[in-house]
Structure formats: C-alpha cells, structure tokens
Amino acid sequence: MNKKIVKVGYGDVEKIKIGGQNPLVFVGGPCAIENRDHALFMAGAIKKICDKLKIQWIYKSCYDKDCRSSPKSFHGVGIEKGLEILSEVRRLYKVPVVSDFSDPSWADLTGEVCDLVQVPAYLCRQTSILRAAARTNKPILLKKGQFMSPWNMKNSCRKLESFGNEKIILTERGTFMGYNMLVNDMTSFPIMASTGYPVCYDATHSIQLPTSMGNISGGQREFIPYLVRSAVANGINLLFMEVHDNPAKALSDSNTVLDLKYLENILYQAKKLHQIRIEILNKLGDDNVHPTNP
C-alpha cells in the first residue's frame, strides 16, 4: 500500500532504500550510547549478524535519554560526545546511524551527523520538534505516540510536509491500554501505510510495560518473536529493536532490550517472513478485501 521510498545514508556509508518492495531493513543498537568502546563493540557484533543474514541495517543509539521515569536513571553521554561516537561508528563500519533528539535546539547537530533522525514517541505531535526535524532535511523516523491513534499520525505527517520534509517513516511502538500497559494493534500498519510512507515496527518498546516497576519500565521480552512475526507478515518495511550484549547491565531500558544472543534468531525469522510477504504481494497484489473506498 505504501509507495514512497525513503533513502537513508549519505557520504560513504551503505545506502539503503526503505519502502515498497525493497527488502526488510533492521534498525538496532543499544538504547543509549553508554561509552565509545561499548558502542563500537555493539556495532561490530550487529554488523556481523546482519552481514551473515544479508540484511541491510542502521545503527541506533541515543546520546540523551530525556524521558526517563527517575531522575537517578542514566540520562546519556550528551550530544557532543554522543555524536562523536556515532560518527566513529559510521566511519568504521560504513553503516548509517540514527539517534533521537528531545530538544529542537539539538536537531541541527543531530542531522549533521545522523543519516536518519528520530522523533520520540512522546513528542510525535510537538510542532517545534517536528519543525526542527524537518529542517535537518534528513529522513525522519517518526514514532507513533503511545497515546495516538494510527490515523491521527497523518496530522504529524502533514506538519512535517508543511515544513518541507517528505522523507518520513512511521513507527508503531505500542498503544496504551489503561495504565502501565501497552498493546499492539496490527491494523495500525495498513492505516499508517495509507499515508504512502514506509512503516516500521519497534518490537522492543512494544513489549514495554511503561513505568510498571515503580520508577522504571518493565517489559515482557518473551513476546518479541511473536510480535515480530505478526508485524513482518503484516507488511512492515523496517524492523526496529534495541539490542544489548548484557541486558541486566544495560544503562537504559534494561527490561526491554533484546539480548544480543537472540538477534540472529529473530532477524532470520523476520527476513524469511518478509520474503514470503513480498511473494504473496507479487502473486495476489495489494489487499483489496471489502474495500471501503473502491
């Protein structure tokens, strides 16, 4: 259903096309940049798996975690150091990188370094953030707020378009069901894809139980493979998962990050299912069952 292709990657990193019938792309890395050595180690480890499976990927890690529940939680290494580390990841591994930004004044620097800029879910309708993201002229990974209906994400797209940026990827990351609980509505993918933009599934945030552990979030990681299979079969273009080599010691989202040892397993399944999905699409065409707007 989505026809627009978003191209990610500038300079000498790998160029990636997202959307349409292009292969499934993976976005992953530790939730937060913890330090240089860890970031490089994780990038190397993920690259090895993606190379083996022949999956194009984008390294994701954030320099500032502005939405922590507790003031004592790790807040990040900061924009200057963080972007320096992301630049090194780009340079060494020739992989595109993405970080989010939570303050409009951080957008320009983030866009100078990152191949893709991420708008956090909680801020997905903030005009000042969207204006700043659009101004970077980089592709934008727009998270769907946990409080947003999929159809209302069109309003955020229209804001970005009005600011001159039409390189948008819409990301599902779970929807609040009451307090401290998220559910995934699989109809959100075709609804968001009807904007024409590629759609992404954030599997590790979707299994989050927001702030369920008092002052931090819990999660149900055991459901990651089930939800990934459902989302990929549904027709997503991009799969997002935060990954860590030692989740118990992760400085951010330790209850939701995927253990690195399971990454190959999940990506293998995702790639296979995406190929089947494309085969079905080529055989039967777009779904057109009981169309409401024939």
Partner: protein
C-alpha cells in the same frame, strides 16, 4: 440568460485542496451553509466534489471509527467525475438538467477546466421566475 448571470463566484463557496482532511472540508461546507464542497488541484482544476448526500451514504457504508473517518483525505470520499457546466451555458437549459439529475449545485468551469463558480439551484430558479 446564462449561468454567468447568477453563479456564485469563486471565493464565495466552499473550495478545498486535495491535501485537506474530511473534517476541514466539512468545516468549510458548514461555514458557507452549502451542501457541497469542491476540491481543486494546484492549477485550480476541479478534481472532485463532496455533497451532503455523499457523506450520508459514506457514513452508512464506512464503519471505521468516526475519528478515523474525519481524518481521511477528503479526496478519497469525493465524486471524481462530477457533472459541470460552463458560464456561457443557457440558464434554463442547465436548471432543467439539474432537475433531471436531481442535484442542487453545479460547479462552473472555464475553457481550461478551471473552477470559476458554482450554480446553486435556488437563486437560479428565482432568477428564471423574475
């Protein structure tokens, strides 16, 4: 007597761009107190219309949540090939045609298919009865 003598000029009836959502189109219709909105492209060419009747039929057919319906692009719920007329057309002939096909409003296009006006049935009939 021609359509030009009685048509509502462009700017005085509801017109929206194809990027607008249904809610915005309804607001335009409501403000003008007319049962129709015209949708145009960047060249001012008419690309669709929505009437009160179209909306009634859609509401009965489209069973998605109302908030979702309102955020749909106006164009997807529009009639893409509406009946139109020219400003030089004979008014009596056009009014009779509107009666035959039972419509209250008729978009008026120029030679380049650009929207220049709207013929509303009530003032047209009033003019003919004068």
């Amino acid at each position: 007597m021609t359509v030009n003598d009685v048509m509502i000029p462009f700017g005085d009836f509801p017109v929206v761009s194809k990027k607008m959502i249904l809610k915005e189109a309804l607001t335009e219709m409501d403000m003008a107190n007319l049962g129709l909105v015209c949708i145009i492209n960047d060249k001012k060419e008419l690309i669709g219309i929505i009437t009160d009747g179209d909306l009634r039929r859609k509401l009965l057919k489209v069973q998605k949540p109302f908030s979702s319906f309102l955020v749909d692009d106006v164009l997807i719920h529009s009639k893409r090939d509406p009946v139109t007329c020219s400003s030089n057309d004979d008014l009596k002939y056009v009014v009779e045609k509107m009666g035959r096909i039972q419509i209250w409003d008729l978009p008026v296009l120029d030679n380049e298919k650009k929207l220049i006006g709207l013929l509303h049935l009530h003032p047209a009939v009033k003019k003919l009865l004068e």
